[in-house]
Symmetry: C2
Subunit: 461 residues, 2 copies
Amino acid sequence: MVQILIVGGSDAGISAALRIRELSPEATVTVMLADDYPNFSICGLPFYLSGEVPDWRKLAHRTKDDIQQAGIRLLPNHQATQIDPNQQQVLAIDATGTEIYLPYDKLILGTGAVSQRPPIHGLDLPGVYLLRWVGDSFQMQHHLKENAPRSAIIIGSGYIGLEMADALTLRGLQVTLVGRSPTVLKTVHASFGEHIAEVLQQHGVTVKTGTSVERIEWAGAQLKVSGTQVSGTQVSGTQGFAAVGDLVLVAAGAVPATELAQTAGVTLGHQGAIQVNPRMETTVPNIYAAGDCVTTWHRLLQTDTYLPLGTTAHKQGRVAGENAIGGDRTFAGTLGTQVVKVFESAIARTGLREAEAKAAGFNPITVEFETWDHKVYYPDAHPIRIRVTGDAHTRQLLGAQIMGHYQGEVAKRIDIFATALFHSMTVDQLNDLDLSYTPPLSSPWDPVQMAAQAWTKQSVA
Amino acid sequence: MVQILIVGGSDAGISAALRIRELSPEATVTVMLADDYPNFSICGLPFYLSGEVPDWRKLAHRTKDDIQQAGIRLLPNHQATQIDPNQQQVLAIDATGTEIYLPYDKLILGTGAVSQRPPIHGLDLPGVYLLRWVGDSFQMQHHLKENAPRSAIIIGSGYIGLEMADALTLRGLQVTLVGRSPTVLKTVHASFGEHIAEVLQQHGVTVKTGTSVERIEWAGAQLKVSGTQVSGTQVSGTQGFAAVGDLVLVAAGAVPATELAQTAGVTLGHQGAIQVNPRMETTVPNIYAAGDCVTTWHRLLQTDTYLPLGTTAHKQGRVAGENAIGGDRTFAGTLGTQVVKVFESAIARTGLREAEAKAAGFNPITVEFETWDHKVYYPDAHPIRIRVTGDAHTRQLLGAQIMGHYQGEVAKRIDIFATALFHSMTVDQLNDLDLSYTPPLSSPWDPVQMAAQAWTKQSVA
């Protein structure tokens, strides 16, 4: 009876456990996790903090009971501290503080990531928050409930920064968003970033780009802003940036959590993540790893990247689980497909941006195209903007970005591009796809295809 | 200077003309059409009749001016009556009733389809309508405005029947929908059809299935229904069906319009449509045809079908246009991808249904799966049902059907399946696709992938 030990109870760990349970009634599966919240949708935390999801328990993909009833042994509040790859056991501190050893035949590491702590003075002041795990959200929620802050400063203009700007605005706070990159959401093109900034501003968010925050200080009741006495936390940085808020959120990205893995002597790869092969094997025998702690194979770049995403964690966990019990699956690779909702807008991307494509040796041409998300004569049509990047020589599709109304099927339109990318289609070939149409939902040529036609026209001219 | 003559000013004809204009500044392009409404979105007629689109002019994809400014010569109100393939000319009756000859180097036929006239007694009575062309909608609109009918009987439970049941209900009429097939919308599985019937009934539509209408009669003020004197039109048929309505719509499908083509001696194929090859060439030299009047190559069945759809007409028109000026494009084939909105529901399909797959020699297994269109903790999640059909031996994806809320990205989710079908993916491979996720719009495994996983589980067991 093979013993599978999984460290980490989030997307990768639970996906691995479920896959094993699906395929093998014999294997024993134990999932050890550091906190008390297995299988939580951490992507949902902004919506808990916004008030849209009143009860945090609803964020569980599955309850503890669900998981245990599926035949998975759960060890919450267990902190794994060391791996002994020779003895094939893991040392952990259990919920009572006692050291225990857990043996394994196969070990799967799904230790995830931790919030990046940028070099800012004052990160540990009260009222300054990071947001990665369920526990982080409790701290911020407590502050929101107890102290009813009226203003917030968000440091970082990536996905979580944007979602939290939306969330805290919805909750009635006056939000300032400050980020280092020249436009918000640097994973999409600047023209989209500028448009997102407009959306934020329309909803009352103050947006400051191209600015590095350097200091966070407790302003007490000492500080005067425009002649008025204010209390709170002052955030200052380059470009003369200075703002005072009752709450500060640092959303500067994620760093792979590899401390435990390193005790086993695994090799680290891109951005310090655990190096894995397409079978999700680490460099140490019988140890697999998946999710936000590992390097991720990029299907287009044909290299490793670090791209911590829930979708990828689920896929990699499933592959690791299957292989841990003797299967032979490989992870097909990421395309960097992502979508985010910011107020009523949705912004999505897949594949490579122009600059990424150039750096990878392609000859990219990018065309931006705007149309309506469905026939404009039918009520509630919204503009939809699509950027298509393709290779000038091979005409291969390299990437796409879409921005539109969140009910304008932006997310699943990017998925048409993602599916096309998966199959290395040319941009021109997109016109051969038999896509669905009815006037309230699309056009006879879907906007995806209209954008492809615009690309074809411009790239030939 | 090559002369291209196009007969038909709807999707296929105009697409061909635009493609020629795009590729060749030299060719002359003339589009002759029987009515005065070139490039109208006839798929939009139900929304004009519902009142959602108050001005019928808005249904034009492009105005006459747009088309002429693009360098396309338009001849509206010209009825083409005969082709002389030897002299390479078309005889037509112009707007003044005069016979004229129009020469061509290449001729493209986009004559479309006409409404099927089922063998029902009384089809030509006043108050009985067909709906295919813009002119048809004017007649019905006139009746709706002048006589303010309070009730309607729709014969036919296909796409147009369902859309018109929605449209006329929205307009305040009491609607009865009667169809021959055992469930409505026979192009999707019966379980979906039953659910659509429930949606219709919830909105006050009376639904009668498995019933052939035999007679339409003018009831005058003579008829008594449940003891009450009523006027209007009586519709009766099998299963003891009898209903009285102020308006009758016959929506029994479409028949290819091939009369003109036959004067050139073209071969007809499947369901009497004009036989074309993948280059959209008819069997007569220098004559191309595209759209609702031609046979359509089915990518999965690898045979000709007859499937008149706007999306296909656009694609075929584009191919015909390009080839007419010396290009070398082929039509990639249909997958039968379709979507329809009925009240707040959307129902979509692509590929083969179980029965179609069996008839074509596959070994289909179908699994129906229900989940939410996005994470259920986020507001406004709606159920989404997905049916996946795959081959038990090769595990190849054969088809899919989705039913859910019309804002639940049903349409573009079917397009993920359609793109997968285009590339002959297996059902299992769908799990390798890097699809987008954010809690308000999807799940870490998109419902498309969850359904694939359900299929895999059941098809192995």
